[in-house]
Amino acid sequence: MRKQAAAFILALLLLPPLAGCAPAQAQEELFAMDTVMSLTAYGAAGETGLEAAKAEIRRLDSLLSVSGGASEIRRVNEAGGGTVSEETAALLERAAAISRACGGAFDVTVGPVVDVWGFYGDEQRVPSADELAAALALVGPDKLTLAGTEVRFAAAGVRLDLGGVAKGYAAGRAAEALKAAGVASAIMTLGGNVRTVGLKPDGSRWKVGIADPAAPQAMAGVLTTGENAVVTSGGYQRYFDEDGVRYHHIIDPATGYPAASGILSATVVTADDVLADALSTALFVLGEEQAGALWRSMGGFEMILIAEGGRIIVTGGLADDFSPADGYTVEVLS
């Protein structure tokens, strides 16, 4: 009996390598698109899924960044126009459409102004009125023409900046890569963008915290959601101080100055990744009233606006899914 028992046990020990390791949860951290990203995938396909997702994010980072060596955007900016891949063209087309829909509050041609503020480099400073005027002259939906895959600029010096949609687009593509690899449940944080895939492994919905603009380490509230893109834009994310005044990185394309609409952060919730990313910037620039008007006229998304005075404005579709933290009051928009 003893020998048989020993033999049996030994035989069993051979099984695991054959079955393969199947961790319940795979997690990766990576730096891309100028921010820290955290990806978590559940299930047996988690690890392979994450490899695919990471590869896709890196590919897009390289393709769309303003400064990368292989970047189509950089090439087009330097040459003052040119041909881009179908993928980039499609993204530009979409960005331009959203730009028109929100009256230019979000604009991919805002590059020259961002540059003059120094947000592309290590030194930020307040530009002179002349510098700003010159830069603003290069901004606007009319400065960019897209004919198929041909990009044309209306003037020399026009610069594209896809920073407002790159993370959203990448999140969407990464999600597709995860699903293609067989992952049914995953959650990704790309800087301020959260993207979920499916539901949590136990079938419940995800709980996504919304950063508190006053204290970004804490949360202003928690959103319960299924598969969605949850993108938050806020001045508190990147800023510099000069002479006691705070200047943040979300430039209002109309004025050339950091948007001062009374909104501290705008969160967009929708399944449309690029829309979520672009709109979060646009709504922050537009402010409460115009954002509400846009929501009513356009639809296709829900939003959470954190305004001054501890007010959180939530659109009707999210009323039951959002719970504020202490010190905040919720107003439901209908």
């Binding site: 048989q4 020993a6 069993l12 099984l15 695991p16």
Partner: protein
């Protein structure tokens, strides 16, 4: 005689696997990692008295390995194995000192040893001694669950007969 033992071992191993798999479907009683009913141990401790140490060891090994593989938690197998090993060693040793009427006592010590073994593996692998904070809770859990499963095993043993195979 031998066939009977092998058959009994197989049946018990299958029973242990089923109990293990079913218990795994239940939501955790308490949000502390490592605390569970451990109902499959009813089989282990019963087999220890009914079939002897080697057979019980084989049944336990089957339950740990196949259980982890079937549930897709191969990563957790290391901790189960560490706990199971220590539990079995302690139980087998104590069995000599305790007659079947005190089967439940052996089960309690076994359960406590299981949790200690599992904790030791977890601390070693994750290099976080902070986990030891949970040890007293795991010991209480071991006493309670060990007594419960031990009584079940004792009950079964009394029913099936004190005749050792």
């Amino acid at each position: 005689m031998k066939t009977k033992r092998i058959t009994a071992s197989a049946v018990l191993a299958a029973a242990a696997l089923i109990i293990f798999a079913v218990e795994a479907q239940l939501p955790p009683l308490v949000p502390i990692p490592g605390i569970k009913l451990g109902l499959a141990n009813v089989i282990t401790v019963f087999a220890l008295y009914y079939l002897g140490a080697p057979a019980a060891a084989a049944i336990l090994a089957v339950r740990i390995v196949l259980g982890s593989v079937l549930l897709g938690q191969v990563g957790a197998m290391l901790y189960s194995a560490a706990g199971g090993l220590l539990a079995f060693a302690v139980s087998a040793l104590l069995k000599r000192a305790f007659p079947p009427e005190r089967l439940w006592v052996v089960s309690v010590f076994g359960a406590m040893a299981h949790n200690v073994g599992q904790m030791a593996a977890a601390v070693a692998v994750t290099a976080t001694p902070a986990l030891l904070w949970y040890l007293p809770a795991l010991l209480i859990s071991g006493i309670v669950t060990g007594a419960f499963t031990g009584l079940c095993a004792q009950f079964v043993y009394r029913r099936i007969g004190l005749k050792k195979m």
